[in-house]
């Protein structure tokens, strides 16, 4: 180096800071940089189960777990839609009212006007999509914050729900209809096992084919042991769930629908261009726009999906209680749906999380509710414990976000 103090600094080729490429820069790198993934909530769930089981040995019985699975299906379905909106970094405060309105429309059409139940369900889903598109349009095109648009929706759709149910207030739906069967059907044991086998088989094929293709393309591939470990892990989880549920009355159809929606939406998010665009808009709107993403269309469609999921959740609520009432979708429905998504590791800041968060978060909240019920505690205690868990999840989200920032500025 020269030691001149004035004049032009030395020109010419500068040296590059060389960085040894780490061959196993996978999970550990992600964990260190604050990408915690689903681990905190899985560990939390295990702790919750151990605590409740030690307090009441009926907690982990097939009967209780079956009930738990059935209970979380409706709110969990709503939560899947909430996950999509959270991925954009927005919020939808109307999902509870939209669920209630969905149930009301369903009951009014099928009971009061004698419309075929399947047709009524389709109508409700379309109505949900239209409602969400209105929210999305006002948010994305007019520029009103999503918070306010959906707050107005929360009140407005609740009003419409009450209006539709007037004067009865509650409309009962037939016990043997299509809608009622959605949450009152348990699959025969053999069908449960068949579904489990198909899912594990499909996953195994996907993992192994992906590994072979990556190897052929000369890309770093997961080792065979790691692949097998994942397949066996999934097989154990699904197998255990099916075994437990079959031990009571069989796998509930509603659970299959809920988990199916979670899996399908996850594939859409991770494997399609549309899903990538949702993450991109949630990560950096300006970058997405400059990359040619139609930000407005993505936003409107996500709000439409969220309300459609909410409307379907309302159908499941109506199915479970054999009725649509003024209280359907009210109370803590909205808050539980949002809390489940957040507890499931979906970031409130947008762009991080998956629909599995809705499943895991619903499991956590469902477990707390069910455990409190077994311990015969008041719902006052349940609310306080749910609040603590929610707060822990949000604090973790904020901390890991800070960790990521610190890591980014290394």
């Amino acid at each position: 180096m020269t030691t001149t103090t004035g004049g032009p600094p030395p020109a010419g080729p500068a040296t590059v800071q060389k960085r040894a490429p780490a061959p196993l820069a996978g999970t550990t790198e992600r964990l260190r940089s604050g990408e915690l993934g689903a681990w905190p909530v899985i560990i939390g769930l295990i702790i919750i189960w151990i605590v409740f089981q030690s307090l009441n040995d009926r907690f982990l019985t097939p009967q209780n777990l079956s009930n738990l699975a059935l209970q979380m299906a409706a709110a969990g379905t709503i939560s899947v839609g909430v996950v999509l909106v959270l991925l954009l970094g927005e919020i939808d405060l109307s999902v509870g009212s939209v669920a209630g309105l969905g149930a009301a429309i369903l009951a009014v059409l099928s009971v009061r006007h004698g419309v075929n139940e399947i047709l009524a369900v389709v109508t409700v889903l379309v109505a949900g999509a239209v409602i969400g598109s209105v929210h999305g349009f006002i948010f994305a095109s007019v520029g009103v914050p999503a918070f306010v648009v959906t707050l107005a929706g929360n009140l407005g759709w609740l009003g419409l729900q009450l209006y539709l149910l007037f004067p009865q207030g509650t409309i009962n739906i037939p016990y043997d209809g299509f809608v009622a069967k959605l949450t009152h059907t348990n699959l025969p044991a053999a069908v449960g096992w068949l579904i489990a086998a198909l899912v594990v088989g499909a996953y195994a094929v996907a993992v192994l084919v992906d590994g072979v293709l990556r190897q052929r393309a000369g890309l770093p591939a997961r080792s065979m042991t790691a692949s097998l470990l994942r397949i066996v892990g999934l097989a154990i989880v699904i197998g255990a769930a099916v075994a437990v549920l079959n031990d009571w009355q069989g796998v509930p159809l509603a659970l299959v629908i809920f988990v199916g929606l979670v899996v399908v939406m996850d594939l859409v998010l991770r494997r399609t261009r549309y899903g990538r665009q949702i993450y991109a808009v949630g990560g950096n709107v300006e970058a997405a726009r400059r990359a040619g993403v139609n930000v407005r269309l993505v936003r409107i469609s996500v709000f439409a999906l969220a309300s459609t999921f909410a409307a379907f959740g309302g159908i499941l609520f109506a199915s479970r209680s054999f009725s649509a009432s003024q209280a359907t979708g009210g109370g803590d429905t909205l808050l539980i749906a949002i809390a489940a998504a957040v507890i499931g590791g979906v970031s409130l800041f947008g762009g991080r999380g998956s629909t599995y968060g809705a499943l895991l978060g619903s499991l956590v909240l469902g477990s707390i509710t069910s455990g409190m019920f077994l311990l015969q505690l008041e719902s006052s205690v349940r609310y306080m414990i749910t609040a603590a868990v929610l707060l822990a999840a949000v604090v973790l989200d904020s901390l890991s976000r800070r960790g990521r920032r610190a890591h980014g500025r290394q």
Binding site: G6, A14, T15, P21, E29, L219, R276, G283, N284, A287
Partner: protein, 267 residues
């Protein structure tokens, strides 16, 4: 270096209300050449870049691309011609990994499903040919250093096979080593035969990579220098518009001090 400029602006004017941001300004870039566009704050550098990129089209003036007159009225026009712009504020999605960022908006698909393998393979190839060092291309961009992020942003612009790359302050927020990383990358782009326009406040960076320097002052051309036969003083004079000003007086003082020291320590 070819003789016909790949990009030529002449007589470009742009007015924002009462402010004449550019008046009769011109710029030319040849293939395989780095042109530094320098000037004081408000000299019109960013306005000129935005004119070329189609973000803020010029009021009047001519733009020729590969010796053909072209009209650039929106960003898409510029991209379609083969002009890539990398803005100061990066425009990467922090939550997506390197591959996803590189292919954002132009993902490769196979029967509507993302073809991750093809994208990852060509991303690896691209980054290797540019000698961009990144620990893993499957980590979120948030966990990369500033220089690595800037490298990803530049690499991303190359996927459209551009002829001209516009860089707005690519080293503004970077440390010494990271700046070197980006300057190396700019040299590699030049070696690939691209025409490069580099906006920079840092004359050291400009000296390090630029072949020519175009100086703007108050929206007008204030000089066009070949780097090799120009001193830093000449460029500073052109930027400030006078031989006698704060910057040049400071430099003169500094030179005098150096001279004194050289005399004292000299043989």
């Amino acid at each position: 270096m070819s003789e016909v400029p790949v990009l030529l602006l002449s007589g470009v004017s742009k007015r924002f209300g009462a402010v004449q941001a550019l008046s009769d300004a011109s710029l030319q870039v040849r293939a395989g050449e780095v042109v530094a566009l320098v000037g004081d704050n408000g000299a019109g550098k960013s306005t000129m870049i935005k004119t070329i990129a189609g973000v803020d089209p010029a009021d009047s003036g001519e733009i020729r691309f590969q010796d053909r007159p072209v009209s650039i009225t929106k960003p898409h026009d510029a991209t379609a011609l083969g002009i890539a712009t990398i803005y100061q504020d990066l425009a990467l999605c922090d939550n997506l990994d390197v591959v996803s960022n590189l292919y954002l908006g132009k993902e490769m698909t196979q029967a509507t499903v993302l073809n991750e393998i093809a994208m990852e393979r060509s991303a690896t190839e691209l980054l290797t040919t540019l000698s961009v060092q990144i620990p893993s291309i499957r980590v979120p961009v948030a966990s990369l250093s500033g220089g690595q992020r800037q490298s990803v942003a530049i690499a991303r612009s190359l996927l459209g096979e551009p002829k001209v790359v516009l860089l707005d302050e690519p080293t503004a927020a970077l440390g010494v080593a990271q700046t070197a990383q980006v300057l190396d990358l700019i040299e590699r782009l030049r070696d690939r035969g691209l025409g490069i326009v580099l906006i920079s406040h840092n004359l050291a960076d400009v000296r390090a990579v630029a072949d020519r320097v175009t100086v703007l002052r108050l929206g007008r051309n204030a000089g066009d220098f070949v780097m090799a036969d120009t001193t830093q003083e000449e460029i500073v004079h052109a930027i400030t518009g006078a031989a006698d000003n704060v910057a040049s007086r400071r430099q003169a003082r500094q030179s005098a001090v150096d001279l004194e020291r050289a005399k004292r320590e000299g043989p």
